[in-house]
Symmetry: C2
Amino acid sequence: MAKIATVITNLYEDSEFTEPAKAFEEAGHEVVTIEKKAGNVIEGINGKRIKVDKGIDDVKPEDFDALFIPGGFSPDQLRADDQFVEFVKPFMDNKKPVFAICHGPQLLITAKTLDGRQATGYKSIKVDMENAGVTYKDEEVVVCSGHFVTSRTPDDIPAFNRESMKVLEK
Amino acid sequence: MAKIATVITNLYEDSEFTEPAKAFEEAGHEVVTIEKKAGNVIEGINGKRIKVDKGIDDVKPEDFDALFIPGGFSPDQLRADDQFVEFVKPFMDNKKPVFAICHGPQLLITAKTLDGRQATGYKSIKVDMENAGVTYKDEEVVVCSGHFVTSRTPDDIPAFNRESMKVLEK
């Protein structure tokens, strides 16, 4: 089964982490949360607290099979830290499974990994995605090149989970 | 004196609103806060609550002499609403004074007003600004074309206030 690197910090959109994580784990995959430091307790926009599994210093991209970026105001904070930007880049370069919802693609913009891709994201980042070279689609889920799954909002989570699971099953 | 349209919503960076607003008002200018609806109480990242002066339906760009966009997670939420995107555009097009700090330029990216400009902003939005056509400068304050003032973080507020005030005095 897959080991899924999940980069996340405070003000993440609660359901955009909890619901896909639950679906991944129920299917037997391992979800590893990564923030600045192992053991940090982070809090979602709606108050859900989680204890972080690993610090960014403790992990390498090659230790994981897939990348998951929940939305909210978490991705924008992560991309202010070059370590997170460098961590996510090889997943896109090596076409490993990448799942990004809502503001998740912000981190991939800063990593300069989106040029020529088809994707979606939260409405507020549409122009940023287009400026980064994305063909933006206003659809509940977009799967690009068989490995890169994006969705817009919590309402899209069922479609996001369904397509992410299909990519993991391959 | 100038009437300054200040577009702002929840999770604004407290000091990036309060300190420039205080400086503008002490110099005799009028700061008008604008959110979805007049009377709404909004809350900054650090808990400062303010009551909004005007709703976006109640105002027109031509009623104001200048535009102020405080940072934090406020600009990203405002740009998900087309009314705010359309409201800010004429200030840039008509070269009225525009003051944007931290994440403030996000709203101007979505309004497609930054191509060919010199500016700065919070580190996390650097690549978005460059992709929008900005020459990004990692400086405490950047003044473009004599009307457009940008800064990066709360530490830059003294320089931001100083240069904004110079533009208003012209």
